[in-house]
Symmetry: C2
Subunit: 154 residues, 2 copies
Amino acid sequence: MLTRIDHIGIACFDLDATVEFYRATYGFEVFHSEVNEDQGVREAMLRINGTDDGAASYVQLLQPTSDDSPVAKWLARHGEGVHHIAFGTPDVDGDAAAIRDRGVRVVYDTPRRGSMGSRITFLHPRDCHGVLTELVTTPGASAAGAPPADPSDH
Amino acid sequence: MLTRIDHIGIACFDLDATVEFYRATYGFEVFHSEVNEDQGVREAMLRINGTDDGAASYVQLLQPTSDDSPVAKWLARHGEGVHHIAFGTPDVDGDAAAIRDRGVRVVYDTPRRGSMGSRITFLHPRDCHGVLTELVTTPGASAAGAPPADPSDH
């Protein structure tokens, strides 16, 4: 069950300049940054609201790390802009399976690693009225929808 | 001060079909719908998270009401997809003025009426790394960031 907007993914040519734009214009600060080789991106997560890691919403800024990555190809066609949106769920595996059963193409057979240790998959934009849609389960989010009382138990 | 993601605005050719896609695929229901003549759109707001009207996040689905509306022209160029993103603030006037002072073009001289009685303005996408960005103050959100204790006082 999708319970929140996890993030809005924005593709840019120059991550540092775009981070600085969001800081100078809105006061948004970088909460986390990483390179995701699997996705071919360098990224910065700006936390907009929510103090709990499992209930926060982010702007995710993405710069491709190579010219043949999916985000680089998207930028070449579209220019900078909103690349995808992501909904949070406690159960990305179950939701992806249910959505596939409804006839929507799910891009990965099994979820892959996303930002900050999350598990993610994507739904094909042609099946989603033009919107590349990501499903995200953040670490600590259980299938029951609540984080475990003591994460050290896991 | 921008304190949350208010909504993701998605342009579509057929509002009813797109609403049905979001319901059937994700279980999202229509929280509110209206026609905004000023914006030239028929729209549906799907509340994703947040139980308080002043702290919720929405998917906003937009269908143009005429072929010469801005959303119709955008659809003709881009096809269906994410049209804009919107950040919530308790003070759209103050934030718009401050952002204009930083050199970002603000589309309206004074905020206009948005969904559900909100007051909105837009920042020019060419000044925002390709992202049409809306600022929203929802009814009841005071400049101090909290809704009034008794809305009937107003």
